[in-house]
């Protein structure tokens, strides 16, 4: 069955190529490179009469996708001279591929969501428009902790839209029962001692773990920051995890797993996240790392007093952020770009970001929003959401390098090898550095 897709598409390519009647697939190589190289097609100017139509691609489904559609509808009602056409394009990765393909084909959207660690890849490929002339200082309205993945070569390329951050979720009832501070552990040492007290054994079988986290690049980044390290060198050309700060997270986790106080949730990619959340809800583990994006759903389903806390600190506090930013594409016409900026600005204004945050569970993106009466009332009711925003003072950018999308998979594989005992921590970091350097040199 798998071969069917191959079959059809390739046969098309072949018949087209062979028949010679239809020129096309043969020249694809050139066009393909355009997606990663510079694209400097002259922008066709549209007539100034009538409203400007712009395409907006988003990558969120479910209720969040619906909320986005509603926001766009409202924008279109208010702005008679602009028509925004929204389109759902799958998850971040799929949207990513699609944007690249569309840029190569010349029918790209004008505004799109881009996962924050991919901004560098797009900006470096000169696919994005420099927003500096449009924003003219307007970008100061955003929370500084959310702007760290917006710049590339000192130019502004993105504004924050749906942003999350990792949190430590705690089962307060369980902590109280064990006589622990119900605000959760503040440091790595406390994380270990809390987990020891929360774990339970029946005979040889562990029936409850103190802590669980997916062995995911996002949490690894956080722990590296907390050790005073960084994933990449300042210039983004070298991997800098083959050192104390890079090894410390793995040493902590594997020590905890060996001791039987941390569960390494099984499953590929996001399946492991689901397992961790499931175990947490079923009180099989007392504390987990997961995204702010799960706050609403976990809160709704938890049969215990659920709390959220800052990630425990090592030498320092530190956290990456996640989610996606809005970017403008360089290939659009001037009229489209003007309309696109109008749209991006509006979507991220306090008036929109407050209800967006409340409906979606993402963080609001402007400093003004956090102080707004509506947001304050919400935080009063849901203090866990405030924890996420407060943690932003310790925010680090996700590593910025064009090849980071591939690099993070390489690192994650090595992390998992080490956690499963297939490699020592030293070997894993050595291997990640060797493979990673090749990617970064490309």
């Amino acid at each position: 069955m798998f071969s069917m897709k191959k079959t059809g598409t390739i046969l098309c390519a072949l018949t087209i190529g062979l028949s010679g009647v239809l020129a096309g697939c043969g020249s694809s190589g050139k066009e393909q490179s355009a997606s990663t190289g510079s694209t400097s097609q002259p922008a066709a100017s549209t007539a100034s009469s009538g409203p400007v139509e712009i395409d907006f691609w988003y990558a969120l489904g479910g209720v969040r996708g619906k909320t986005i559609e509603d926001m766009v509808k409202k924008f279109n009602e208010i702005h008679k001279d602009i028509i925004v056409k929204p389109a759902y394009q799958g998850a971040y990765q799929e949207n990513h591929s699609k944007v690249l393909a569309s840029v190569a084909a010349g029918n790209n959207p004008d505004v799109t969501m881009v996962e924050i660690a991919s901004i560098a890849a797009f900006a470096d490929a000169k696919v994005l428009e420099d927003l500096t002339p449009y924003s003219q200082g307007d970008e100061k309205k955003y929370i500084p902790g959310l702007m760290k993945n917006s710049y590339w070569n000192d130019k502004l390329y993105a504004v924050p839209f749906n942003r999350s951050t990792p949190l430590l979720y705690i089962n307060r009832d369980m902590l109280k029962e064990a006589g622990l501070d119900s605000n959760g552990p503040k440091t790595w040492d406390e994380l270990v001692s809390f987990s020891q007290k929360l774990s339970k054994k029946e005979g040889d079988k562990i029936t409850r773990y103190g802590f669980s986290t997916p062995v995911d690049i996002w949490f690894y980044e956080a722990l590296v920051f907390q050790g005073g390290g960084n994933i990449l060198s300042e210039n983004g050309k070298e991997l800098t995890i083959n050192n104390e700060a890079g090894k410390a997270p793995l040493e902590l986790w594997s020590k905890m797993v060996k001791e039987g106080i941390m569960k390494n949730p099984p499953g590929e990619n996001y399946n492991a996240w689901d397992v961790a959340e499931q175990d947490f809800l079923n009180q099989k583990v007392g504390m987990i790392f997961t995204s702010t994006g799960s706050l609403t759903e976990l809160k709704k389903n938890a049969k215990f007093d659920m709390g959220a806390a800052f990630l425990p600190a090592n030498k320092t506090s530190g956290t990456p952020t996640g989610g996606a930013n809005l970017v403008m594409l360089a290939k659009s016409t001037d009229a489209e770009k003007k309309a696109a900026w109008e749209f991006m600005k509006w979507m991220t204004d306090t008036e929109q970001t407050v209800p967006w945050s409340i409906a979606s569970g993402y963080m609001p993106v402007t400093t003004e929003a956090i102080d707004s009466a509506e947001m304050k009332a919400f935080y009063e009711k849901e203090p866990n959401f405030k924890v996420a925003v407060d943690q932003l003072q310790y925010g680090y950018p996700r590593p910025m390098a064009p090849g980071y999308k591939e690099l993070q998979d390489v690192i994650q594989k090595e992390l998992q090898r080490a956690m499963l005992g297939q490699a020592t921590v030293d070997e894993a970091m050595q291997a990640a550095t060797e493979k990673g350097s090749k990617l970064l040199k490309k």
Binding site: M1, S3, M4, K5, K6, T7, G8, T9, I10, L11, C12, A13, L14, T15, I16, L18, G24, C25, S28, G29, E31, Q32, S35, A59, L60, G61, G62, R64, G65, K66, A87, Y88, G90, A91, Y92, E94, K98, L100, A101, S102, A104, A105, N107, N162, S164, W273, E277, Q278, N282, K284, S291, G293, S294, T296, K300, N301, G322, G323, G361, Y362
Partner: protein
């Protein structure tokens, strides 16, 4: 004695078959069960095999989350359209490869086989650019045309056509039947089980295909069911798995129906080939 051995061997065979069948069916049953559960029950541990309360509203919620009637209609148009075109191209091609000797035949057939080995993701970009140049992106044509010919179908049919005895064709030629007529009225009916099997594979594949329609389309008017289902999935946590599974149930229902109807032919096709 012999009978006892035979009976016990049969029993072992049956148990083996039941285990394998269970392994294959279980994920589907699990999906069905999840589709009827409430979210807390989905999250519950230990999990329940059957829902405690039957939450029919999951299906309504999935169906109403987008223009699902339109998605369904598009899915039918695309899957059936592809099927028809693939038959029209695969039958003559397979007949030629199976029954004619012409210069370059092996080379051309080799190319068909190569096609079987390259994944679609590798070449989606040039095809996208090509279709975009023709103004076909975001139309149903962009979903149908790239699949108009199937290497898998040509390969499968060629094998079936080669098994038709020469005498049958000789006899038809003696009766002055045209090649065209031989192909459609003699070869095709004789390869019916293979045709049905191939048709089913093709239909299921394109009915379920997600990547291609997602890349080629931008608006609901031309999108298919799998994209509608995937839009039930939220990024960054918080997916309602019960609604998601209800959507998947809606997706596979037509396939199940077709499968039950065509079951006889499928079994025939596989027995035929194993001889």
């Amino acid at each position: 004695m012999y009978r006892v051995v035979l009976a016990s061997r049969k029993t072992v065979e049956w148990i083996g078959l039941l285990i394998v069948a269970f392994l294959f069916v279980f994920p589907f049953l699990w999906m069905a069960s999840t589709a009827f559960k409430t979210m807390p029950e989905v999250r519950q541990f230990p999990p329940t095999l059957l829902p405690e309360t039957w939450e029919w509203s999951n299906f309504a919620q999935a169906w109403e989350s987008g223009p699902f009637l339109m998605y369904t209609w598009n899915s039918i148009l695309v899957a059936v359209g592809i099927l028809i075109l693939q038959f029209l191209t695969a039958v003559p091609a397979a007949y030629a490869f199976a029954r004619y000797k012409f210069p370059g035949r092996n080379l051309l057939f080799g190319l068909v086989l190569i096609v079987l080995m390259i994944p679609g993701q590798v070449i989606f970009l040039p095809i996208y650019v090509q279709l975009s140049g023709w103004g076909l992106v975001n139309t149903l044509w962009s979903l149908i045309l790239p699949y108009a010919a199937s290497a898998f179908g040509i390969f499968l049919l060629r094998q079936a056509f080669m098994q038709v005895p020469d005498e049958v064709i000789e006899a038809a030629r003696l009766d002055n039947a045209s090649e065209w007529k031989i192909m459609w009225t003699i070869m095709v009916p004789m390869a019916k089980p293979v045709l049905v099997t191939f048709g089913l594979f093709s239909f299921i594949y394109h009915w379920n295909d997600y990547f291609w329609p997602l890349i080629m389309t931008n608006s609901d008017e031309v999108r298919t069911l799998p994209i509608g289902i995937s839009s039930l999935h939220m990024s960054d946590g918080g997916t309602l798995w019960n609604v998601m599974m209800a959507g998947n149930m809606i997706l596979i229902l037509p396939i199940l129906v077709i499968f039950f109807v065509a079951q006889r032919h499928i079994i025939k096709a596989f027995i035929y080939q194993s001889k």
